[in-house]
């Protein structure tokens, strides 16, 4: 009875709008064709993937889900860049917490880390790199006096020192707190990561980060297909879609396989130090034990895991 009256009302409403009597059968047929019409163009355009839309959050995926998701990403990369990429998902190593130390006495501002980062992580040229090197006047620790646009014709320039800044992988990260969909979080080994397929691109985290470490993809990444790094991982350096946030992951795909990050390997002066802070024999442990280290914007209580020191 109720159903009938609803149909009558809907029929009335349509009659009013199109000025013609609508029967129940023709009304339902109309609905079906409308639904079909909305599906067809989507399939053609391929702008929208059902598999991606109904994909689970990274943390809720089981091994089976991951397999199909990684296969989809590999297929998409193949279609778009004609490259065979491998998507891996290296696991957290038990008893490991990553930390980074940087020797400001030896950094000479040659931006080798910046370039290596861009190449390793398939970063769109508009974003540039996850690392910015600030040229600062000697005697000042005021970050506002630094510039990242210095030309650097002969570095290090006299009277300047160079301070690379990237994601600090804070222990109390302000960026993960503000995410409305929990698309970014801190892993057990200390890495702050983003699920690019879950991110809605609201950029709250970019506003929350005090270190300008988060970057937004305003466009579809425009990469040189021959230079794409094909060793990719789901949470780090796979090619990001348009409209999502991305950030430094300490080269998760390298470091969880016990390698050093790309920026460290590229540093020509050996200013960069990386390791497991829980391991007494690691460089970072020894530096924190013997050197006077400092972190950026300590007063914000973000507890960065990126330490600077002079020697």
């Amino acid at each position: 009875m109720k159903k009938k009256s609803l149909e009558n009302r809907l029929g009335k409403a349509m009659e009013n709008s199109i000025g013609k009597q609508v029967k129940r059968r023709s009304f339902l047929q109309g609905l079906a064709t409308a639904a079909a019409a909305s599906v067809i163009p989507v399939k053609k355009a391929q702008a929208f993937s059902f598999a991606k839309f109904f994909q689970k959050h990274y943390k809720e995926m089981d091994a089976e889900d991951k397999k199909s998701v990684f296969a989809r990403i590999q297929k998409e990369a193949k279609e778009k860049y004609q490259r065979d990429v491998t998507i891996s998902d290296p696991e957290v190593i038990e008893g490991v917490k990553f930390a980074y130390c940087l020797n400001l006495s030896t950094c000479n501002g040659s931006r080798k880390c910046v370039t290596a980062c861009a190449e390793e992580n398939n970063i769109d040229p508009q974003i540039g790199s996850y690392i910015k090197v600030l040229e600062m006047p000697i005697g000042s620790m005021n970050l506002e006096k630094g510039t990242k646009y210095y030309q650097g014709d002969s570095v290090p320039e006299s009277g300047k020192f160079y301070m690379p800044v990237q994601c600090n992988h804070c222990d109390a990260p302000p960026c993960t707190k503000v995410c409305p969909v929990e698309a970014t979080w801190k892993e057990k080994d200390g890495l702050v990561v983003v699920d690019y397929d879950w991110c809605i691109g609201c950029r709250y985290c970019q506003a929350a980060c005090p270190y300008e470490a988060r970057h937004f993809n305003f466009r579809e990444p425009q990469l040189d297909r021959t230079k794409i790094n094909t060793e990719q991982s789901y949470l780090s350096n796979r090619v990001r879609p348009k409209g999502v946030m991305e950030k430094c992951t300490f080269c998760l795909h390298r470091t969880r396989n016990k390698q050093y990050p790309a920026c460290l390997e590229a540093c020509p002066t050996g200013a960069r130090k990386f390791g497991n802070i829980l391991d007494e024999k690691s460089e970072v442990y020894q530096i924190l034990k013997t050197k006077r280290v400092f972190v950026l914007k300590e007063e914000l209580n973000t507890m960065p895991q990126f330490f600077y020191y002079f020697d």
Binding site: Q126, S154, T269, G270, K273, E283, I287, T290
Partner: protein, 161 residues
């Protein structure tokens, strides 16, 4: 031959740990090595400047233009370096020679706080010796051209932010 072997500087807690620091053989990167190829016959004890070929390009900007080769190089066995206590060491162990004067860098070098290491943070670490970055004859770090800067958002308009 010795050139192929890697020198294990420290095997920390051999029983448990995988972590080890190795210094790769670098004699092949020393120009004109082995030195005894020529110096088994040429045995000048006091050098004349400018040095004859192939050493004419050497620049001396170390410790107030020190030009006393024998301070580091062994007088008789030119394939070796010599410590102050007259102990002969290989070119691969040159850091032992450096820390005779630059003692404060010794602990930092050993702990990894100073100097470059590549490889694996939990496996084999390949440690660079001092002379791979600092030219022993002119150790001051040179100035270079840096990689290109990031694109300024207002580059086209030229406006200041």
């Amino acid at each position: 031959m010795m050139m192929i072997t890697k020198i294990i500087v420290s095997l920390l807690f051999v029983g448990q740990a995988l972590a080890q620091v190795v210094i790769d053989d670098r004699t092949f990167s020393v120009p004109n090595f082995p030195c005894m190829k020529c110096h088994s016959e040429i045995k000048t004890s006091t050098p004349t400047f400018p040095l004859p070929k192939p050493h004419e390009d050497l620049k001396f900007k170390h410790m107030e233009d020190v030009k006393n080769c024998k301070l580091c190089h062994d007088q008789n066995d030119r394939d070796k370096l010599r410590l102050i206590n007259e102990k002969k060491i290989s070119f691969n162990d040159s850091h032992l020679l450096c820390i005779q004067c630059h003692g404060e860098k010794g602990p930092d070098f050993r702990s990894g706080a100073h100097g470059k290491q590549v490889g694996s943070w939990e496996g084999v670490k390949h440690r660079y010796t001092c002379v791979e970055c600092h030219n022993p004859h002119a150790p001051k770090f040179p100035q270079w051209k840096a990689d290109p800067p990031p694109i300024h958002p207002n580059r086209k308009t030229g406006a200041k932010h």
